[in-house]
């Protein structure tokens, strides 16, 4: 658990971060979003004391971060950044084993941990262990960066625009992998990004920042339904935010039981998003879809009316 109480950071007379309070529950992924220079990276870097805060208190698991020695604190917090920060003169294997080595783990435990992480992140040991970072693609390098951040099994992970430099397809793949990873590992993650879609896709808790202050925070759906002001609304996509909400809601939340009438030709998977369902309706020129499960068996149906929520209040199947 990470807590910030009225934290301020001044560079000279200018406040980069101005009295923010924030609480990230254990196992939650908290995304800090905002335009460049809004203080989101500074906030992140104050948690592992790469930047010292000027006022207020930062606690992890109930203890102020200043109570730890800097190095001790950082070794128990994973850290991944946009440029990966991999050491170009070290092999992938050595890079991943960095923090365990700093913590003086025995050699075979490090070896076993590195192997475990590499397979977890889809980097086969035999083809990647001895490579140098400049021999990797952007996506592979970022996977190694994440593996390195996870190496000593920290409870907390700080990620500063980790996927910002990747092409859209690789970025999306890594986002899904991170979400998948998070559903298994339940780390407490603070994730900085300026990509709102990425934040919506990943976050349990969304924090919108502007000029060093928090403008609004809450669950992504709350913000989408009820943005506090025009700034948050435009950041969330303006008129498009309905579609973003649809993208976050699975079909199974709105589908109806199979009715007595013949089933519709067009199909949609129950785990697909309403956004995708809408796209299928638009493409097929229909207003009714058959919802199917993994085995392609019909389990319900989705009409345009219930997709858009005319039937809100009726229980989902």
């Amino acid at each position: 658990m990470i807590e910030l109480f009225e934290v301020t950071k001044r560079f000279g007379s200018e406040a980069a971060v101005d009295g923010i309070s924030l609480r990230v529950e254990k196992g939650q992924l908290c995304a800090l979003v905002g335009t460049s220079g809004c203080g989101k990276s500074t906030t992140l870097r104050m948690i592992n004391r790469l930047i010292e805060h000027s006022e207020g208190e930062i606690h992890i698991d109930g203890q102020p971060v200043r109570r730890f020695k800097e190095e001790t604190l950082r070794r128990r917090i994973g850290y991944a950044i946009q440029s990966t920060g991999l050491f170009p003169h070290w092999t992938v294997e050595r890079n991943i084993g960095l923090v365990p080595r700093l913590l003086k783990w025995p050699r075979d435990r490090i070896q076993a941990r590195v192997e475990e992480l590499m397979s977890l992140l889809g980097l086969p040991m035999e083809s990647f262990a001895d490579k140098y970072p400049n021999q990797l693609s952007g996506g592979q390098a970022q996977r190694v960066g994440v593996a390195r951040a996870l190496a000593a099994d920290p409870d907390i992970l700080l990620m500063d625009e980790p996927f910002g430099a990747l092409d859209p397809i690789t970025r999306e793949t890594l986002q899904f992998e991170l979400r998948d990873l998070q559903s298994r590992l339940h780390k407490t993650i603070v994730f900085v990004t300026h990509d709102m879609d990425e934040a919506l896709r990943l976050a349990d808790h969304l924090v919108v920042m502007r000029a060093g202050r928090i403008v609004q925070q809450g669950a992504p759906l709350e913000l989408l339904r009820d943005p506090i002001d025009a700034f948050v609304e435009s950041l969330l996509g303006g008129e498009d935010r309905g579609l973003k909400e649809a993208a976050l809601t699975p079909v199974s939340h709105r589908m109806l039981p199979l009715g007595p009438h013949p089933i519709a030709q067009a199909r949609i998977h129950r785990d697909a998003s309403l956004h995708q369902a809408l796209a299928v309706m638009f493409r097929e020129h229909v207003d009714r879809l058959t919802v199917v499960d993994v085995e392609d068996m019909p389990v319900g149906e989705l009409t345009l009316r219930c997709l858009v929520g005319v039937h809100r209040g009726e229980p989902g199947a």
Binding site: L50, F87, Y132, Q135, G145, R148
Partner: protein, 388 residues
């Protein structure tokens, strides 16, 4: 690859013209009188001279279509020509030098120097085109060096250069030793001082400005002037402080030479070290700190190893520069290979000048290659395994 290699073609044509048009060797009755020049056809007659052109013509024909195989053959021919040059000199000595005159000697003429120069350029061009490593180039030069050594040891008795060496083999060895010691000491001292200065400069911006402006002034002073400037204070010190005199320090000799050499070496050393340490990717340093490495660990395990190739580049520049500058140090009595150059200039004996200049050239090339190879070995920013 199908197009002609214009560079090699031009080099070969220039070599051809030079070989036939310029004097290949000259013969003098003793070391002072001006020699008589002989062109290739005056040495072996026109048929022989034309035959001697054949390898050049063949290379020129080969590179008209620059496929890899043809370039390899061109490389073989260039190396063979370099090996054949001492044999040519031996033939010329046999035909032109009168054995009854013990002082008469054979000088290497402009045609031969030009040919040597152009063939070495071709070698570099071929090395680049065939993507060979620096090491490979030196392996290729090995048979060439062996051929020259054999010829010098057994067949080139009348060669003027060799005559000059024979008279001075002991001073020559001492000179090389002194030269290398001065260079080694200057590079060693400036490396230690340079690294310390660079570290101090990273702490304080004030020191950085001061050091760079002082070193820039030193660098712009002509070397002889700097040697001269050090003469007076060192002579005064030696006259007034006993232990300094006891160390063998005086106004002339090795002490002012070494001081000046260190002064010149510091700028490239400090600049490269400073830039190398400062330009390590900020993201790498940030993540190293973020992972929980201490300042010491960041410096020793990340910053220093990543800066090392650029620092070595500084050592390389400094070493090559010091090898050249030490020649001038001979003027203030520091010894070294420069002694022969200035003696030769004084006596108008060009071959004695060459006896000093050629080893300096050779030392500089060897130092350049060795340190260059070392730096590229340490550089992991490049793909490992791809020859540089």
């Amino acid at each position: 690859m199908r197009r002609p290699n214009v560079v090699l073609l031009a080099l070969m044509l220039a070599a051809l013209v030079g070989w036939l048009g310029l004097e290949s060797v000259n013969v003098a009755a003793n070391r002072i009188v001006l020699g008589t020049g002989f062109r290739a056809h005056q040495v072996v007659g026109w048929p022989g001279a034309l035959v001697s052109c054949l390898p050049l013509v063949t290379v020129a024909i080969l590179v008209r279509r620059a496929t890899r195989v043809r370039l390899c053959w061109a490389l073989v021919l260039v190396v063979l020509m370099l090996m054949a040059m001492p044999a040519w000199l031996a033939i010329a000595a046999d035909r032109l030098v009168d054995p009854s005159l013990p002082q008469s000697r054979l000088g290497i003429g402009p045609a031969n120097w030009l040919l040597l120069f152009l063939l070495l350029l071709s070698l570099i061009e071929l090395r680049v085109r065939l993507a060979l490593s620096r090491w490979a180039a030196w392996w290729l030069l090995l048979p060439v060096l062996a051929a020259w050594w054999l010829a010098l040891a057994f067949w080139l008795e009348p060669l003027a250069l060799l005559r000059e060496y024979r008279g001075r083999s002991d001073p020559f060895q001492t000179a090389i030793l002194v030269h290398l010691s001065l260079v080694g000491a200057a590079v060693g001292i400036s490396l230690v001082v340079g690294v310390l200065l660079a570290l101090a400069m990273r702490r304080h911006a004030g020191i950085q400005r001061l050091v760079f402006s002082v070193l820039n002034i030193v660098q712009t002073m002509p070397s002889l002037a700097l040697f001269g400037l050090l003469l007076a204070p060192l002579a005064w010190l030696a006259a007034n402080v006993d232990w300094i005199a006891a160390l063998g320090i005086s106004g002339i000799g090795w002490a002012p030479a070494l001081l000046a050499l260190v002064g010149y070496s510091l700028l490239p050393m400090v600049r490269n070290t400073f830039v190398a340490l400062s330009e390590v990717d900020a993201g790498v340093i940030d993540s190293a700190r973020g992972m929980g490495m201490s300042h010491r660990q960041v410096f020793l395990q990340v910053r220093l190893p990543l800066a090392l190739p650029v620092m070595l580049e500084g050592v390389r520049i400094t070493t090559v520069q010091a090898i050249g500058l030490t020649a001038v140090a001979a003027l203030i009595g520091a010894g070294g290979l420069g002694t022969f150059i200035f003696q030769g200039l004084g006596q108008a004996a060009m071959d004695l000048v060459l006896l000093g200049a050629l080893p300096i050239l050779f030392l500089a090339l060897v130092a350049d290659t060795l340190l260059g190879v070392l730096a590229s070995r340490l550089d992991h920013r490049r793909d490992a395994g791809v020859p540089q």
